[in-house]
Symmetry: D2
C-alpha cells in the first residue's frame, strides 16, 4: 500500500492538508552519516514556487527527523521524518466532493473510501506526498555513491521537444553528475530552453503539458536482480508507478523496440580492457531481470498536469448530472521538472534495496 521495498522499507504517510506528512525508513545500515544539507538541496529541487514554470505556492518542506539518527549517524532504528503542513487553503477545495476533477484520483478515491475521503488538496494522492520520498531518496543516493554508483535523470521530453539522447552504452559520469545542478536538467541546454518555452506557452493558454524523464544508473555490478517477478524491471516499474501522473515505464530502447528488428536491437558483447560490455545498450542494462553491468536506463512517461484553469466538463455526483467545472488556484503547467528528483529518489531507493538484498 503506502510502503515501498523489502529490506529497505519506506512507509509514506499524510494528506495534502493533514497536520503533517512524512515517512518511516526502516533498514538503513547503521553508522551512515548523511549530508543533510545535500538532502535538503535534493528536496528543494522538488519543492514548488521556485521558478516561472512551477506553482507560486510555497511549501515549507523542512524535514524534522524524529528517530533513527543520533549525533548525525543512523543508529539502526527506523528513521522517522515529518514535514508539518502550513500553507493550506482548505476552502479552495470544498466543492470537489461533488464535482470530481477530470483525470485526478478524486472520483476513484471517493468510490473506494466513501464520504470520509479527505478530498482537500488531493488528500493522500497529492503530489506533495512525494516530498518524503525525496527525503528518503536523498539518503539512498548518498549510500549508492558510497558504493561507487552514480544516479541521475534528465528531462527526455516536454510535449514535442526532445533532449539529446546519449549513447546508452557510453554515458559519461561527468555528464550525469552535472544534471542535478541544473535548474532544468537536460543534456542540451538549447533543448531545455525550447522545453521552457513549450511550458510557458501552455501556461499562457491555461493549459498544461506532459513529458518524459529518463533516469540513468552508472556503476551497478552485473548480476543484481532476481528472475521472473523479482527482476530489476519488475521492481523499478512496481515502484515508479507509485509517483503520481506516471503513465508508462520502459527500459533502454523501450517501446521503440516494438518497431525494431532483432539484428538492430541485439546488443553484441565485446571485450573492453578485460571487461565484458555490450557495444550498444538497447537493453538499458538489464537482461532477464538481472543487471548486465552496463548503464541502467529507465524511461518514465508523465502525463500533463490534470489541473488546468480552463473550464472542463465533469459530473455533479450529488445531483447525478453533468456539470461544468473550473479549477481555481495556481498549478504547475508542467510537473515534469519537479518530478525529476522524485524519479531519481524512487529509483535510488529501489536499487539500494536490491543491493542490500543481493
Amino acid at each position: 500500500m503506502n510502503t515501498l521495498g523489502n529490506k529497505l522499507k519506506v512507509t509514506v504517510f499524510g494528506q495534502s492538508h493533514a497536520p503533517a506528512i512524512g515517512c518511516v525508513i526502516d533498514g538503513l545500515p547503521a553508522g551512515f552519516a548523511p549530508d543533510m544539507a545535500r538532502v535538503s538541496a535534493f528536496m528543494a529541487r522538488r519543492a514548488p514556487g521556485q521558478n516561472a514554470w512551477s506553482t507560486p505556492r510555497k511549501e515549507s518542506d523542512a524535514p524534522e527527523v524524529l528517530s533513527g539518527i543520533v549525533d548525525g549517524k543512523t543508529c539502526g532504528a527506523p528513521v522517522a521524518m515529518v514535514i508539518h503542513n502550513s500553507d493550506q487553503h482548505s476552502g479552495d477545495y470544498s466543492g470537489l466532493r461533488r464535482t470530481p476533477r477530470p483525470s485526478h484520483a478524486d472520483y476513484a478515491a471517493l468510490v473506494k473510501y466513501g464520504d470520509s475521503y479527505d478530498v482537500r488538496g488531493g488528500g493522500q494522492f497529492s503530489g506533495r506526498l512525494t516530498a518524503p520520498l525525496c527525503f528518503a531518496g536523498g539518503l539512498a543516493i548518498q549510500l549508492l555513491e558510497e558504493k561507487g554508483i552514480t544516479l541521475a535523470a534528465h528531462i527526455g521530453q516536454i510535449e514535442a521537444v526532445f533532449d539529446d539522447v546519449p549513447d546508452f552504452a557510453r554515458i559519461a559520469r561527468e555528464d550525469l553528475e552535472a544534471l542535478p545542478g541544473k535548474p532544468f536538467p537536460v543534456f542540451s541546454d538549447e533543448a531545455g530552453e525550447r522545453m521552457r518555452r513549450a511550458i510557458e506557452a501552455a501556461r499562457q493558454e491555461r493549459d498544461s503539458v506532459g513529458g518524459m524523464i529518463r533516469c540513468f544508473v552508472l556503476g551497478l555490478p552485473a548480476g543484481v536482480g532476481e528472475p521472473m517477478f523479482g527482476g530489476v524491471e519488475n521492481r523499478l516499474a512496481g515502484a515508479l508507478f507509485g509517483i503520481p501522473a506516471v503513465r508508462g515505464v520502459s527500459f533502454g530502447t523501450g517501446f521503440a523496440a516494438a518497431g525494431m528488428r532483432g539484428s538492430a536491437h541485439n546488443d553484441p558483447f565485446v571485450m573492453e580492457n578485460g571487461a565484458v560490455r555490450t557495444r550498444t545498450n538497447h537493453a538499458g542494462g538489464v537482461l532477464g531481470g538481472i543487471t548486465s553491468g552496463m548503464p541502467l536506463v529507465v524511461n518514465v512517461a508523465v502525463k500533463p498536469t490534470p489541473s488546468i484553469s480552463r473550464p472542463q466538463d465533469t459530473v455533479d455526483l450529488e445531483a447525478a448530472e453533468n456539470a461544468p467545472l473550473t479549477i481555481h488556484g495556481r498549478h504547475d503547467p508542467c510537473i515534469v521538472p519537479r518530478a525529476v528528483p522524485v524519479v531519481e529518489a524512487v529509483t535510488a531507493l529501489t536499487i539500494l534495496d536490491m543491493l542490500l538484498e543481493h
Copy 2:
C-alpha cells in the same frame, strides 16, 4: 523471485531442459470447477509449432494436475501442476556457457549463478516457463468471467504495422470476445495480414521483429487498487515485466501522454444512464492507482526475438576475447503472437489477486 501475487500466489518452477516445468497456485477459492478443455485451448495459443510464424519445435504441453483439484473442483489446497519436458536437444546449447548470446539472459545469469547455471535452452529464463503461467492464467480468466469481467488482448503492433486502436472509452465486449479465437488476434484482419507478412519477411532475412500487445479488461468495478505503491499500475507492471522480452508497460495513452496537453489528455466525466463514466479514456481505466470503472487498458512492448540465425558478435568468456556466434536451431522470428495469451494470463492473475484482496 519466482512467485507472483499476494492472496493468490503463483510459484513457477523449471528450466527449459529440466525433467519438468510447472507451477503451484495457492489461494484459489474452493469449489471452483474449471473447464479444463478451455484451459488447454488457452495454453495451446502459446504453444509453439502451430503455424508458419512460430518455431517448428513441438512441445507436449499437457499439464498434469498433482493436487488441489478433486472431482473437477478446487478443494482449497494449492493446485500444483507439472508439464514434463521431452523434446529437448541439449546438445544444441553446449557452447553457450562460453559465448553468451546477445540480448539473452545467459551472460547476466552466468555472472549471478556462476558455472552451475543451467544454460541449456535458456534455463530458467526460457520462454517455455510461461506455459505454467498460461495454465494459471487460464484458470484466472474463468474466475474473472464468473464475476462478469472480460479480458482479452490484441496485437497492437508488429514492427511498423499497427492494428486499429479502438476507442478506449467504448470497447465492445463482443469485439474482445472474438480476439482469442483468431489465429492472429487483431481487430483489423487486414492489418493482421500485413503483420504476418512483416514476420515472414524477417524470417526470410534470418532476422526477427518486435511488437506491442495491448490488453483490455472490461467490467472491473471502480475503487479497486491501493494508493501509491499498491496501485493497479504498480501491480500489473511489477508482474508483466516478468514475461521474457517485455521492455515497457504503459496504461491508456501511455508514452504518448508525454507529448500531449492537459486539455487533450484529461478525460471529462459524464453521466450515462445513471452511471459515471468518462468521455475519453486516456487514463486507461486507472486514476491514482485505483480503477475508475472504465475499461482497463495496458500496453506491453515486446522486443524482437534475440535468437536470430544471422552471424553475431559476442565474447568468448573463457578466452576473454571477442568471438563470432551463429545460433543454430529454429526460433520464432516473432514471439509476439505467442506472447498474447501470456500477457492475458499475467494480467488476469494480477487482477484476480487484487479482487480477492479487495
Copy 3:
C-alpha cells in the same frame, strides 16, 4: 522488521531517547470514528508511574495524530501518530556501551549495529516502543467490537501465584469485559492480592519477577486463518514475540498438552442450540491454524524484568574482561501488569488483520 501485518500494517519507530516515538497504521477502513478517550484510557494501562508496582518514571504519552483522521474519522490514508519524548535522563545510561546489561538486548544490538547503536534507555528495544502499539491496538479493539468480538487478557501467573483459570469452553463475556477496568486484571481478586505481594517482595529484595498473560477472544467466527504457515497460531506467535520480554507463546492448554493423553486432550464436538461447539476447549479455539468458533485462548510467558538493582556480573567490552555492574535508576519489579494491554493490542491487531484478509 518494525512492521506488523499484511492488510493492516503497523510500522513502529523511535528509540527510548529519540525526539519521539510513534507509528504509522496503514489499512484501517475509512469512515471509522474511534473513541479517542477510550484509546487514551487503554494506553494509560501501559503507562508507567501509576502505582506501587510500576516504575515512578512519568511518561507523557499523549499521542499526536498527524494524518489519516479528519473530523474524527479515518479517511483511508495511513494514520500516523507521534509521542514526543521528554522525561529522559540520558546520563543514566552512559556506561552501557562498555558494560552490557545481562539479559537485555544491549550486547546483541551492539554486535548487530556497531558503535552507532543508540544504547540510551534501551534504544529501539525499549519497552517504551510498546506505547505506539497500544495506540494502534486501542483502535483495533474498537473495530473488533463493532464486529461483535470481545478481547481481553488476564494475568495468569506472577512468579508462583496463579489466577483462577476459567473453563476455556465457557468464558463469560461479562467476565472478560470486567478485566480491563481492574487495576490488576485477574479473575480472582484474592489471587491478584497475592500477586501484588509477590511483586512487592521482589522489589524489596531489589529483584524482579516474571509472569504469564492469557488473552481471550470471544465471538470470532469459525473458518478464519490459513493453513500451514498462515494459521492463526503462526500469525499471533509471530507478532507476540515482538513484545519485549516474551519467552513463550502457546494456545489453549499449551505446553501442558505435552503431558496429556489424547483421550483427555481431545475436544468432543457437541450440538448446542443448533450450533457446533466443543465440550472442552483444550485447542484454545484453533484447529489446524483455523478458528473453530470456540473462544481463542493464547498464553504468553513474560520473563522477569532484567533490570534489577542488585550487583550483577557482566563484561567490559572495551577492556575485554569481566566487570561488575550495578544498574541505577528505578525499574518495574514486574512488567507483567503493564504488558497486559500490550498483549491485548498485538492480539487485536493481528486478529483484525486476519479478518480484513478473510
Copy 4:
C-alpha cells in the same frame, strides 16, 4: 499460506490422497551439491511404519526432483520436488465429512472451504505434508553445516517422562551430532526407554500421548535477527506453528521464566578465551530478537495424536445432532518421535533464510 520464508521460500503442496505432494524451494544458492543419500536418511526419520511406536502404514516417500538440480548441483532455479502418493485407502475416510474427528482440522476446514474440502486422510492438513518440509530441511541442514552450524533436536518429554536437560550454556557439539542417529533421539537412553514404555502403554489402552521437542542450534554468530517483529523468535515461532499438532513454542527457559526471579533468570556475561559468552543461557541464545552467539534453544509442545481408536463424541453435521465416532485404521499413538526431524527441518529452513538475509 503454504509458503515459508523470505529470501529462501518453500512452497508446499498436496493433500494426503492427492496424486502427489511436494514442494518448490526458491532461493537456494547456486552451486550447492547436496548429499541426497543424507537427505533420504533424514526424511526416513519422519517416515511411518518403521518401528513399534509408529503406524504400520507404509509410505513410499521417494522424492523426485523435477527442476533446479543439474548434475548434482543447484543451478539457481527453484528446486521442485514431488512424492507420488500410492498407499491410499480413500474408503476409510468416507464418513468424515459428516462426523468431524475431535481435535482434527476437519470441522474448521469444512467451514472454511465448504463441501469441496478434500477430507480424505486429513487432506491438506495431513501430517504427510511434512515430508516435503523434511526434504527442504534436509538440504538446509547441509547448507548450515557448510557454515559451521550444527542443528539437532531431542525429545524433551513424552507424557510424564522427561529427558535430561543439558546446560544450555555448554552444549557439546558431539552430543548434538549423536542425536539424529538414534532411533529415539534423547540424551538419556534410560529416559528414552521409559518414554517408549509410556507410548506403548497408551497404545495398548487405545490412547495416545503428547510430548515436547527441543531443538538446538550451535555455531550461530551473534547479531542475526531483526528487531521487533523480525526477531529470531518471531520468525521461528511463525514457522514452527505450521507443523501439525504444535501447541506452544518457547525459547530457552521458556514458560518456566514466568515463575522465576530476575536474579535467577538473568544470564551474566563472561569473557571466555577472549569471547563474550553468558554463564547461563536462560535466554536460549536470543536477546531482543537478535542472536547472542550462545546456543539457540527452542522448545516445541506437541499435543497427543488426536486420532485414537476409543469411541469418541462428535456431531453429525448433516443431521445437526450429536453422534458417536469410532476412528478405524492404525495411527501413531505418539507422533513426537516422527515430528523431531520436522522440527529440525523447519528450524533449519528459518535459520538459513535469516542468514541469507543477514
